[in-house]
Symmetry: D2
Subunit: 330 residues, 4 copies
């Protein structure tokens, strides 16, 4: 059987994560690796047993499917190029760093028959998959209290450069915007406050959100919080129950009204499973080979970009509620 040829554009940390997962998938072969930094491409090619591609065009030419693992602000250009070349695309989050760009990608990919998947890996992380299952099957959520921090934007240094990231919220916090949709459905409106302290951008956010379902939530995200575990926590208040995730390590929920709780630890899983990377890569290859829709679509990518942009707009304008217009009313 011919193996699916995979190319990478961008040879940084996350590319290595995907490559080492794909190296164990018998259905694929890593064919080409491109990076603007030639040394980095060579090192990754050596580890992955692949060839260096000297240009984006060459990487596209030698691949059936492309992983876009560059800095955030280059995703749009490359995603559109790859889609136009009729390649299957795995685009790391954020899909784009403006709604206008995300919409362009969505329009281009909507027409093709190729698979286009966005790297919102947390949907596949066992803690979040289990949380969603609980919220669907056993615990109707009433409200939620969510935080996602970074301790600093110094390491690696590009995380502090909005020209690379598109802005702090686009880099990691965007996962929580996707996660809220995944867990609670569409946001109908939101309102945010922000401030700037350590970095040359808004680095502290407080957000209030309404969902179409009636659920409401608070979200805090700080770029300068110091590395105190958990950096990421979702608390959901339900019928006489609280369910909490702490990063992708543990899922805790109260059971009954007598102070008993159950904790599921993902401590024994390898990080690539615990964080959902292995599952999202398998799902991408499955979608290509089985000609089925990918589990995280360009629409999902667009929606999370819309939410981030709405938060920035709310902070900038200081006005009242920002309505999420593009979402059809329930």
């Amino acid at each position: 059987m011919t193996k699916l040829k995979i190319g990478f554009i961008g040879a940084g940390y996350i590319a290595g994560v995907h490559a080492s997962i794909l190296a164990r998938d018998e259905r694929v072969q890593i064919a080409a690796i491109h990076d603007v930094d030639r040394d980095r491409a060579e090192q990754m090619a050596r580890t992955a047993g692949a060839e260096v591609a000297h240009s984006v065009a060459e990487a596209l030419a030698e691949s059936d499917a492309i992983y876009i693992t560059t800095p955030n602000t280059r995703h749009t250009e490359l995603a559109i190029l790859a889609a136009e070349e009729r390649k299957h695309v795995f685009c790391e989050k954020p899909m784009a760093t403006t709604v206008a760009d995300a919409e362009r990608i969505e329009r281009v990919t909507d027409k093709g028959k190729q698979v286009f998947q966005v790297g919102h890996n947390r949907r596949f992380a066992p803690v979040y998959a289990e949380l969603r299952r609980m919220l669907s099957e056993t615990h109707t959520p009433h409200s939620a209290h969510i935080k996602m921090n970074r301790g600093e934007l110094l390491n690696p240094v590009w995380t502090g450069d909005p020209k690379v990231t598109g802005g702090f919220l686009f880099e990691t916090t965007i996962h929580m915007f996707d996660m809220m949709r995944f867990l609670f459905g569409e946001v109908s409106s939101l309102q945010a406050l922000g401030s700037s302290h350590e970095y040359a951008e808004i680095d502290d956010f407080s957000v209030l959100l309404k969902f179409q379902s009636g659920l409401h939530a608070t979200l805090a995200s700080s770029a300068d919080a110091g590395w105190l575990f958990p950096f990421e926590r979702v608390e959901v208040f339900c019928h006489h129950a609280t369910i909490v995730t702490r990063e992708m390590e543990t899922l805790v929920y109260s059971e009954g009204l007598d102070g008993r709780h159950v904790e599921r630890s993902m401590h024994q899983l390898a990080k690539e499973e615990k964080w959902g990377y292995a599952q999202e890569d398998r799902a991408f290859i499955d979608a290509i080979l089985n000609r089925t829709p990918p589990p995280v679509t360009a629409i999902d990518g667009l929606r999370s970009v819309e939410l981030v942009e709405a938060v920035y707009e709310s902070v900038r304008t200081g006005r009242g509620w920002i309505e999420m217009k593009s979402v059809p009313s329930a």
Copy 2:
């Protein structure tokens, strides 16, 4: 030396807490205990070595200082009565259950020379006292993420009756409104969402707050969350640091950027010290004997009632920001 005579109106749980603390204070004598439930008054009188008072008037007549420890919705009437009788008053929180009532109390007590203190005990709890010290001296706060839950409103059963409590937020969450002022200064405006699930009142709240200092915060409070520790948590994001309190048990803060944190446990303290009850009672007696201002004034009591009422108004009207008008601009 003549001992200060203390009376209690209301002989429930919190009265017992104060009485057992005062019993060890050589400067005072518990003189009279009144409760609409005669048996309850008698039992408390027996434990405290005090006399039962058969009416409010009798309790006032036999006391220099009065603890108002009745259900919330009776505080106003009794506080005004006691103040008019020129008694020193320790009024349990909430000072009142409407802003109008709180203002009436404030006006009455403002004129007298008697001490009027409100039972916002958490200000005296070592975790919060230490947190405030850190925020004043070593860590400028940028934003905060706060929750305070109850697991249910079934036990004791009156906690589910707004005619007794004034509404869920007046019962326990009001502590967090006082705490936010204590830690971060005055709130300038707020906005809230609420919903009703298990109880005959709004029982789930999400709140976004702006402070005069520029700080912003999110607050979640749920009446039906199940008893998952911590029920009460304040997270403050500072310059490359997070400081977290978990109930009145522990204070945790990140130190440096390498994943180290320091945890101070109050595990060894008796509950009455850990929760600040012993300190607030000593402070009340100190203020009376030394003729100094009490550490928690009627203005403080009023402000926290204003904040709770603003949250209810915001949820009810669904409009934009509620400005906290009574606070002079900074």
Copy 3:
């Protein structure tokens, strides 16, 4: 109905704990309080609404039942005196500070019809009661790993004086010796190592124990460990399960083989219930009024003293296994 008259000999901290519990028990009346420190007796009498007794004899004369709450090394003399006076006796742990003394008490109390109960309160603490239930009903124990520390012997200062305590192990660690018998049955032999570092006695112990049931266990107890929670922890290894208690705060057990565990928190209980004091006091009064055997007998008190003495002997002699001879073989 005539109330049972209770006297206290010793008016320190633990006396106050029992008195405040008994004050709420309608079946009893605190009649007399004696302490070598007259001021202390007076203060406790005031709080408890009781009379000061000017001598042990007077305290005995005015009481039906006596709480012996003096320093450890005075327990024997007073326990025998009270038993000879045909009083019901609640003797705080340790029952005595030598096996010879414990045997004398046991012989005296064995003959009478009076209730003699030893203050091994932990048996009544919900975490330990539940642990025992689990070990009896659902989880056969294979082995155990136990520690009980103090952080220091400086506060209160008498905790560092073996003339008062009988030795570090008699003061608090003795609870774990009683607990091991309660959970696992009789110890058949043990072996111990000890060393002396900060204090004028052996202050660090490592112990290996065999039980008649075949179970084996390790125990560590250090007098100078610093106050790191939990100070007291029992870990029991069972069939594909671990059950852990952390002080009297939480009971945790693994469930299944997939990294899930259940945690029961006693966080909401008042300390007197959480630590079993309220339950042991009720049980003592029950035994007197119902003429039933007390739940913790002089034999239990003796056995825990034997175990502590065996540890000291093992450390002193450095020889092999110390056989627990007094226990009939299973």
Copy 4:
């Protein structure tokens, strides 16, 4: 520069861990991979960009340095073969599964100039490296309380087969025997109890240990404990301080006598750094290239095997103290 050629004998999980670390080391090249299961060798060769060796002899012929990553009971034969062929050897723990075998290896390797390193990775894990630094520089240890469990021996299934592992203690608990020497120096004697419950071997151990330094320790290790975190914990009692490691995740120590503790989390490190694998592989290559002694020698490998064998002997004979004779007295 010619790269150092590395061969692997054994292509299971731990081989993959080392290979993926070595793949990023520019000084080496993975040359040959052998496994009795040809498919497994091929899969690992593909991922590592290496060749399959069809025999042990071929693997040795094509390599300068050999990783022995087979089941435990084959280590001796292969270690001796490789040493006789004058290869540098990285031998996974346990070095052997009998003292006699470990001594044979030690004699063979002692004569050569080649590097022989044993895979006691935990010495390099940051939590343990930092613990050792503290015990050397700032905190003299008095005693220790240690546990290391597995939750079961079912997965992978060979962990329950002593013919493969050499016995439960040889598989993972041996790390703790090496760790105790690393932290506290040589054991002078020990005594152990064991029992058999779920598996066809002794699967529950309680051990008491004396060290040459005077330190004493308790160790519990259970094969059937259920997966309750932490599986591995070292508690060291020092001068008014406790230092605790929980797996290789966190290092906690009490600071002062007021209930404050400091916690260092290794949460952000990749597992290969957190567990010390990356550091031990770098150290092995360093030792070869710099002609310096390896940090974990055949003597270290032998000593940990001696301790495990002494525990089994103690359990089997039920006699008194087992003296560790081979260790020269201090």
